[in-house]
Symmetry: C2
Subunit: 371 residues, 2 copies
């Protein structure tokens, strides 16, 4: 590999941790009474290196790509839904569009390898100006569109059931794209989103290979396969896993199973960790990108907040492997970054508690009885 | 009882429910992929009687009162913390103050029976003008303060371990106060908050009496008693329960165990249900007010959303008794309305999904394969 991966040194400022904990414990509430919000405040303070952390210009990065394996019937939906949903993201009608708008999250959609030419599509085409304020990165297509970045490796990965989903060079390029994308984005928080018909299969394969868990446990119904469909998917994924038995390293596994959107997210996660951004992890597929990044740089996960636990059964196993405790359990299984967006206000609350809540001393409130 | 309680008729518009479900199912996402957010959207649509519900001018009502039983050592904190925290709410430094500000919730603090004279207190005293916009109701004290409503029944309830916490007339007056308070508030959503040293004891007693559950299971550490303290609290509450064995009706139990803030919240819940407002239930004590209101008017709970499940063990039992599924499980045990405020953005999201998300048809996205 010629690409130099960003480093992510261990966060180990014990003095800052002690100051943060003292600050939290002296807020006007019984010790620990804000529960997991207190642990979240501590983590955000440590990532941002501040006793009064403030989240600035949060960026929702939705990476999209198609999967050759989708032709094998692993999804309830046709591959065309990938590009159609990208158009829906851009038009503001998808769940993540609605939620990003609600919470003031800048939304950038990335064509990492969708089987569709967005520049040629019929939708209105904007100039170089971003969506609004500091929103979106410029596209490298000849006809850029607001909020869309074209970082296309190929129109979909190859079919992983007959060979590697991508070449090593393609995998490296997608990671490099993710790194470059985050470098261009403002702010100190990155929310991960993705779209790609067939990508729960890639995620299940990566989870099984990188953790050694059985592929059946890692495989679920995705967008809504019935029981027969899940059984077929499990048989197919077992065969695909066996076909790529030699893909033992994180990068080899990523190239073998795909997809372009996951590899781009791996780069984005590595760069965000390097820059000490808060990384808000969404569902099963976005978490897989963190799993790969963590395998490459073992302190990445210190910068991560798990937004939610998906209804896709592999997600809980993946979060356990990462040691992340999800904020929400709402049986979501949509992806797109929708769960990350839903959890976002909790991160804002944790920071506001640290910044704005009074201490017992400042508010003149009595401490607990010592009797 | 001379007070006429507001009615809360059954919500049973099956046609609206079907239209809402159809609308949810046709949004651009796999069927059910937004999980519990979809059930929440359905509920909010039914309460507000609309396929495109919008939450307007949400009101956080924090009711405060003191408890005679607190003198028996049932709390880790002294009773003075009640009034000190009311001052903290008004000064903007408490958790609920911070969270209400974050989410644009109008905050009204009610002195339902705090052992303190707020009008005589040293804090700066405003005129009749509300905190901002449509915030707060006017106080009936001679020297009203912004954001504070004085609806004081008495300076704390009587000690329930020697007699009823309040008289039937006091209980009725507190409920009437809650009804009148909500009548004066704008908007279509009410968030419940409370403050009162000793009030987990009242809540545990009410839960045990109204559900028949054993008092030990209903009793926890409150603001942070140690194991010995919890054991003492359990013994005391068992005795108090036995002392008021004849307090069998919801109102008799409420009068026997208190407190003024819970009774005021009962009135607020009844009036909010009557007006078809969305009621956002906070933790253990606020949920107890819903339990009493539900016992008086059996369809109240249809208008309720459970914000979270508290770390106080009785709360899960109480939510189960009400048939409510909490949105958040963050091990909160603070009260004040803090959990209701934290969950609020999820209600906004559910409404935004209904109002703003595209349908498959409008977005030109393919439906699932029928193969």
């Amino acid at each position: 590999m010629t690409l130099e991966l960003p480093t992510a040194p261990k966060l180990d400022d014990a003095a800052l941790a002690a100051r943060l904990q003292h600050r939290i414990d002296n807020k006007t509430k019984p010790l620990g009474a804000l529960g997991r919000l207190e642990a979240l405040a501590l983590r955000l303070g440590l990532i941002l290196g501040s006793e009064s952390p403030a989240l600035v210009a949060p960026q929702m990065l939705v990476c999209a790509g198609d999967h050759g394996l989708a032709a094998r019937g692993v999804s309830a939906y046709p591959s065309d839904v990938t590009w159609q949903m990208v158009e829906n993201f851009l038009a503001g009608g998808a769940a993540v569009s609605v939620l990003a708008r609600q919470h003031g999250l800048a939304l950038t959609v990335v064509d990492c390898g969708v089987r569709h030419d967005f520049a040629a599509a019929g939708a209105p085409q904007g100039g170089e100006a971003p969506l609004g304020g500091q929103r979106s990165v410029g596209a490298n297509s000849s006809a850029p569109r607001d909020g869309l970045a074209i970082r296309k490796i190929a129109p979909g990965t190859a079919d992983a059931s007959v060979g590697p989903a991508m070449s090593a060079a393609q995998c490296e390029q997608a990671i490099a794209n993710g790194i470059a994308l985050v470098r261009e984005l403002p702010g100190n928080a990155l929310l991960l989103g993705e779209m790609g018909i067939g990508n729960t299969s890639a995620a299940s394969l990566l989870l099984a290979r990188l953790t050694g868990l059985d592929i059946d446990a890692c495989t679920g119904s995705g967008t809504g396969l019935d029981a027969d469909g899940v059984a077929r998917k499990r048989r197919l994924l077992r065969d695909v896993l066996a076909l790529h038995a030699d893909a033992g390293t994180p990068l080899a596994a990523l190239a073998a199973f795909g997809g372009f959107e996951i590899a781009t997210l791996v780069g984005a996660v590595l760069q965000a960790a390097h820059e000490q951004r808060v990384i808000v992890v969404d569902g099963f597929i976005a978490s897989t990108a963190v799993l790969v990044a963590q395998a490459l740089r073992p302190h990445v996960v210190q910068r991560c907040v798990a937004a939610h636990e998906s209804a896709e059964p592999g997600h809980r196993l993946l979060l356990d492997a990462l040691g992340l405790d999800p904020l929400l359990r709402l049986d979501l299984r949509l992806g797109e970054g929708s769960g990350a967006a839903l959890a976002w206000p909790l991160l804002e609350s944790a920071c506001a508690i640290l910044r704005e809540m009074a201490s017992f001393e400042s508010a003149g409130v009595s401490q607990r009885d010592n009797t």
